[in-house]
């Protein structure tokens, strides 16, 4: 959510820069995004450590009577999400060569993989034998995966908004220009970095919740 705000914000600012400032300053948006993701990562780190603390304080973990987690579906989901990180990188490679069609193809594919992941997550939720309030393990399971799922959703929305913008062709004074190109790919890179972030968080989550 916040990522999308700053995305739009900074693009507008850049255009303002050309309009009225004396001189443009270098583009710091990627730096700002990474700083933001460090902060976002700290929320997850806090939640992970809380999870480990609950786990270490409990006499038995998961508490007695918790049904065992199925590994098959989340395993496939993990593979899909990890693969999507490679897919989205292809988009970055494409746009560096000014290939908007390639960008659209790879971003479309990434969004699809993200949606499949979310679908798999919902399917898993609906087939689990414990609910949010069953016990401490169940509560942490749902909140952690849910909070991550929220980030995946935001990531998918970011990717879709880049796709939406990539089709718009701004007809300037003299010539037509694409929204994204070799020299204007902040939106693409930002979405990609965010997506990698979501991916890394999932790997840690998967290890914590399913494997440990």
């Amino acid at each position: 959510m916040q990522g999308s705000i700053s995305d739009k914000t900074q693009i507008n600012i850049e255009s303002d820069t050309h309009g009225s400032h004396h001189e443009a300053h270098p583009d710091h948006r990627i730096f700002g995004l990474i700083v933001f993701l460090v902060a976002e990562g700290m929320i997850f780190l806090g939640l992970f450590i809380a999870y480990l603390a609950f786990r270490s304080m409990a006499p038995e973990w998961p508490p007695a009577g918790t049904p065992k987690l199925e590994l098959m579906l989340p395993g496939i989901n993990t593979v899909i999400l990890l693969a999507s990180s490679l897919v989205i990188h292809q988009a970055d490679t494409a746009i560096k060569k000014n290939d908007v069609k390639g960008l659209q193809l790879w971003f479309g594919l990434t969004a699809l993989m993200g949606i499949i992941f979310l679908g798999g997550q919902l399917y898993e939720y609906s087939h689990l034998e414990f609910g949010l309030r069953t016990n401490l393990f169940a509560s942490t399971f749902y909140v952690l995966t849910g909070f991550h799922g929220l980030h995946v959703t935001v990531g998918v929305l970011l990717i879709l908004s880049v796709l939406w913008r990539s089709r718009s062709v701004s007809e300037g004074e003299s010539m037509k220009s694409e929204h994204y190109g070799t020299n204007n790919r902040f939106g693409v890179e930002a979405a990609e970095i965010y997506w990698h972030f979501v991916d890394v968080i999932w790997v840690i989550l998967f290890i914590l919740l399913y494997l440990l």
Binding site: D16, G19, R29, G32, F36, V38, I43, L47, A53, V143
Partner: protein
């Protein structure tokens, strides 16, 4: 927004007066000018300061007598909860980071604005509606569990108020993180090319350390509040022992933010003091590098001391030792700063004007707060006075004697810069005297009350404490009255004060090398560094030259 940033047509050459003045209407817009945003932060913060202050006066009036006769005890609980929350999250954090850093950083670094101006405006505009939401909760049964909101107590005292409290903090935390991104990026990336890190004014170093804490610590509080809101609304039991949860985990997460929050609230003012003292003593700052690096060390150590708030929470002894040692160690970089300031004053031509008086007031009260902090770091002593008025005295010496004195120091120092006019010195000194006396009369006796065992956060107390409590209450009235001369003086002088010129203090940092008030994009031509930020009077001639300008 384009319209605001556009500079009105080139001014005619004969026009010496700055004509790019803001009108009052600009301050009610989604402006992206860092100077407008800085003032928006300050004025908003000050309004909440008055609200929080009135709550404090209510608390003190209630405590003038041992019985709960002014308000009933649960209203009292809400009053101190709201007082703490408003003062921390809606006054000191926005005023310190939001107001001072936004106004000063680009000016000091020679930039035309912050790195992300619109994000900056978003960060500010989160605050007023959120503050109103918190005030609104007064009428819906406000939170009663203190600003720490420990479960399970916070889960038992009314869902609506507590829910609003959690939402308020999440929103203000978001604002704070967005601000932190901006400060961090601006300091690292927006300096004029001729300025290296070691040539930055010390306020920028202080804000670098502060922004790191905002970015690293604030999100963890968000994590704790998310879990707490699930406990409150969805009926989970993360922190509720009844369902197998662990309240202590909340305490760890809460203090992982809320101890660094103390440094978020005071580090910017360490920066302010480092700016003010060399200017008004006409001497180079003593130990630039030591003061700069000690900010970073405080920032790091500030992240590993949090459990000293939890010595009575069943924390294992070895862990208590660790946190006791780190807490005591953090007094070292703080002491380095204090000695740096004192050594700067030593042998300087001290001009005892209002900013300097407040700066000296800051040092004297903050040292007391710092020393009681070291006392509280000692486990055996802390266990004795935990949750007594000794802690209340300590934290007010740090947050009022430190932060609020720092805010006033900064206001009096930069008033000519912001308004282009001098603030009246006589009334400034009256304000200082009333504040200093009122503050000490209010909070000094609380040390004694705490040592005698008077518990905090309770509307009633044993009759033998009444004498000192009445002293505190009278002091608090003086403190309340002290705000009146300041407000009248500041508002009057902003419009009718003596014109100050662009650099009335003959200061060397870049913020003083432009017009007062600074024009819309700060500098007509981007400045080039010719001196260090504090090269005052190294030789007699140099100083004569400087003051002759």
């Amino acid at each position: 927004m384009t319209a605001e940033l556009t500079i009105p047509n080139q001014t005619a050459p004969e026009d010496d007066v700055v004509i790019h003045h803001r009108t009052w209407k600009d301050y009610f817009t989604f402006s992206t000018d860092h100077k407008v945003i800085g003032i928006q932060y300050f004025v908003t913060g000050f309004i909440f300061y008055i609200i929080g202050g009135l709550l404090a006066e209510g608390i003190r009036t209630e405590l003038a007598t041992p019985d709960a006769d002014l308000v009933d005890p649960s209203t009292y609980n809400s009053m101190f909860t709201m007082h703490g929350t408003i003062m921390i999250f809606l006054w000191i954090v926005p005023a310190g980071t939001g107001a001072f850093a936004n106004y000063l950083l680009p000016l000091m670094l020679g930039a035309r604005d912050m790195a992300f101006p619109k994000l900056n405006a978003v960060a500010f505009w989160i605050i007023p509606p959120t503050g109103l939401l918190l005030i609104l909760s007064f009428f819906l049964g406000p939170a009663q569990a203190g600003w720490t909101s420990y479960p399970p107590l916070s889960l038992l005292t009314g869902k609506v108020g507590e829910g609003i409290w959690i939402m308020t903090l999440l929103l203000l935390g978001t604002s704070s993180i967005l601000g932190g991104i901006n400060f961090f990026t601006t300091i690292l990336k927006m300096r004029i090319p001729s300025m290296s890190m070691m040539q930055m004014p010390l306020f920028c170093w202080a804000m670098l350390a502060t922004s790191l804490l905002m970015l690293i610590a604030t999100p963890v509080l968000a994590g704790a509040l998310i879990l707490l809101s699930f406990d409150l609304i969805a009926g989970t039991a993360f922190f509720n022992p009844v369902g197998g949860g662990e309240p202590v985990v909340y305490q760890h997460m809460f203090w992982f933010y809320s101890h660094p929050a103390v440094y978020i609230m005071v580090l910017p003012f360490f920066g302010v003091i480092s700016e003010v003292i060399p200017v008004h003593c006409r001497k180079p700052i003593f130990g630039y590098g030591a003061i700069a690096y000690s900010s970073m060390v405080i920032s790091f150590l500030g992240l590993i001391v949090w459990a000293h708030h939890m010595f009575t929470s069943g924390t294992p002894p070895w862990l208590r030792m660790f946190f006791m040692i780190t807490t005591m160690v953090i007094a070292v970089p703080t002491g380095i700063k204090i000695f740096g300031w004192l050594a700067t004053m030593w042998g300087g031509k001290i001009n005892l004007n209002t900013p300097m008086l407040f700066a000296m007031g800051f040092i004297s009260t903050f040292v007391i707060g710092g020393i009681t902090g070291v006392m509280l770091a000692a486990v055996p002593f802390d266990i004795h006075v935990h949750d007594t008025y000794f802690v209340v005295a300590h934290l007010h010496y740090v947050l009022f004697g430190g932060s609020v004195f720092g805010i006033y120091t900064g206001i009096y120092h930069w008033f000519p810069k912001v308004t282009g006019r001098h603030i009246d010195e006589t009334w400034g000194k009256i304000h200082f005297a009333l504040t200093y006396v009122g503050f000490n009369v209010t909070f000094l006796p609380m040390h004694v009350l705490g040592l005698q065992g008077m518990p905090r956060r309770i509307a009633m107390y044993a009759p033998e404490f009444q004498g000192l409590n009445q002293v505190c209450t009278y002091g608090s009235y003086v403190l309340a009255i002290s705000t009146v001369p300041f407000l009248i003086n500041a508002i009057y002088c902003a419009y009718k004060g003596k014109p100050a010129g662009s650099n009335p203090w003959n200061a060397l940092t870049l913020d003083w090398q432009t017009t007062s008030p600074p024009e819309i994009e700060n500098f007509e031509v981007l400045p080039v560094l010719t001196t260090g930020p504090y090269d005052y009077g190294d030789t007699e001639e140099e100083e004569k030259e400087l003051t002759a300008v």
